[in-house]
Symmetry: C2
Subunit: 359 residues, 2 copies
């Protein structure tokens, strides 16, 4: 483990996350559960069916299915839309999860090609979508675009993209790994946003802070097909309840805290932006997340942060990613931990950053 | 839920299994765990690495990796061997899990064709293997052959098949979903049996009775490749610890009880075979499992069994599978429940079966 991560774990307060991902995360979720509750069995049973129904209602879709992972759920969604159109091409952002984090699973397992829309450092616009050739089966939009700090287009842009895709016979899929997190910014319900999409994936361990697990939602026929693919992928486990029960618990616990996390993110980003050596993307966050960029090498920044953690007992990040010879960055994702940090501590931390980075 | 299953669940004693698969199965496994134990993270961390090391040692392989499911692990094993040989053909039994329970995942995701060896109702013999064409990349052997009652070939047959495959450049993969269960019959260690195979999959929720999960073992290079495919399949979850901790717990709890389950299966099969209307396959079990075949329609047998459950408080099976107009069958898998049934109850049950089926 790196010095910075060690030192982060030793702090009393952290500016990001919900706290340690230890086994208490699981055990807490089980404390209120009927001790005789029976396991789901290969996708059937009360525990899985009730949660799927709850989520399909919440997302405003006909049907929903629980998956062990979003990687599995999204590849399958794209495969179904490709099969339906009889094409093998989809489109998404160059920093889409499928493009950079899945070892080319979509290509290797499904033989689906991807058109990369927009530049790496900006959002997909309607103009980009209008360049798509007719043989594209599905466009995937990720809201917020995580790898560029969690940026969001105006709601009207999504509406326009949705209308355009419907007219052109291109299915629109939502990578909603952080869907719960963006509702406060749009001042819309999940249902209102999902209405613009043909299929939707949501995750239970990002802002919600569960153990793992995902839900894919869409119309009945789409979801029935996705269950067949779930089995093919090896995701139709005899028992998924450890993930389902924790997903349900943290969904209920945190879905209504997203407004607070969002406001916290705006507040914290402002503190960062007051430091001359730091800047956040987006400048004003639109969800619970943003990226912090420092004009300082990782090697220079690491000991400074470690010392601040030691002195104040407040951790800012557990890692630094090099972005250039003299720059580095990290992701901030606000959760329950931020609200526990005393305001005077917060002030002290940023005072120290300012002092240290002005030397 | 069927009447028979309902009635089975209401019995005080059951002749099969470890008892209800409710959430206590998970919670019990966590009772002895350090409450601060940290989650694994995308395949890394103490909890997953230690268990993988334990299993690679137990199976006598260089390396091992934990998978959410056997479906995923085995498709990946076959894919790696196919890629290595540059061929797209494997061979296995007609009732192999990949052929009948995975919605053609191997073909749909990996484009691998399968040659079906032997007839449905018998084991693969050396003579069958000797008919394999050179372009077969891998032969999968399932020990015991579950769908035909859990039959096993003599150890010498496996040795001969293994030698033949090595000579011919055909990789040999073990579907060891029930590997722990067959060790007492062969009087061999897992390591001795696995030595005959290039790759091995074992499961933690069959005879061991865990929640879900599998391990794939082989040499370093094979296992490193399998991790890439695990990510592609969507199986590289941020946290797998609910399955790992329960797998470890039930592995330690039950791996040394397999001898007892095996002896119990032999005893119970004998009781069945003393009924004129029933017969078991195998006649003398070679593991903790066997199939019971009745020369009676499902419709005739179901009310008789339901009445016996009600009268004695002992459940024999929760389901009946039709095998013909006047025949049906079910699987018996011995676990902790069998030993709790008082012997006089057992005698009474079979006395009632005999009486009722002689009318």
């Amino acid at each position: 483990m790196s010095t910075l991560l060690n030192s982060f774990h030793e702090t009393k307060y952290q500016l990001t996350g919900h706290g340690k991902r230890d086994i208490q995360t699981l055990l807490k979720a089980f404390q209120t559960i009927d001790p005789k509750l029976e396991s789901d069995k290969y996708g059937q049973g009360k525990v899985i069916e009730e949660f799927q129904n709850k989520l399909s209602t919440y997302l405003g879709k006909e049907s929903a299915v629980f998956f062990p992972s979003g990687t599995m759920a999204q590849q399958i969604a794209l495969r179904i839309w490709c099969d339906q159109k009889g094409e093998k091409t989809v489109a998404y952002h160059p920093l889409c999860h499928l493009e950079i984090h899945e070892e080319e699973g979509l290509k290797e397992l499904h033989h689906i090609h991807s058109l990369l829309l927009a530049d790496k450092d900006r959002l997909i616009e309607l103009e980009d979508v209008m360049t798509l050739p007719d043989h594209v089966a599905c466009l995937l939009l990720e809201l917020p675009q995580r790898e560029i700090g969690g940026q969001l287009p105006p709601y009207e842009t999504i509406e326009a993209i949705s209308s355009y895709c419907r007219k052109k016979g291109i299915k629109l899929h939502l990578d909603g790994a952080r869907l719960f997190e963006i509702l406060p910014f749009y001042r819309r319900t999940a249902e209102e946003i999902c209405r613009l999409f043909d299929s939707v994936y949501v995750s239970f361990y990002k802002g919600l802070g569960g153990i793992a697990g995902a839900v894919l939602a869409g119309d009945h026929s789409f979801i029935e097909k996705s269950k067949v693919w779930k089995r093919r992928h090896g995701g139709d486990l005899i028992s998924l309840y450890p993930y389902i029960i924790s997903s349900d618990y943290y969904f209920e616990k945190r879905k209504d805290r997203m407004e607070q996390y969002y406001q916290d993110a705006v507040e914290l980003a402002e503190l960062y932006n007051q430091c001359s050596a730091a800047a956040t993307i987006p400048v004003i966050p639109v969800s619970n997340m943003f990226h912090v960029h420092f004009q300082l090498s990782k090697k220079q920044l690491e000991p400074i942060l470690t010392e601040i953690y030691r002195e104040t007992g407040v951790g800012l990040t557990g890692y630094l990613a090099e972005t250039g010879e003299h720059s580095c960055s990290y992701e901030v994702s606000i959760g329950d931990q931020y609200g526990k940090v005393p305001k005077e501590k917060l002030k002290w931390v940023f005072q120290l950053i300012n002092e240290n980075l002005h030397q």
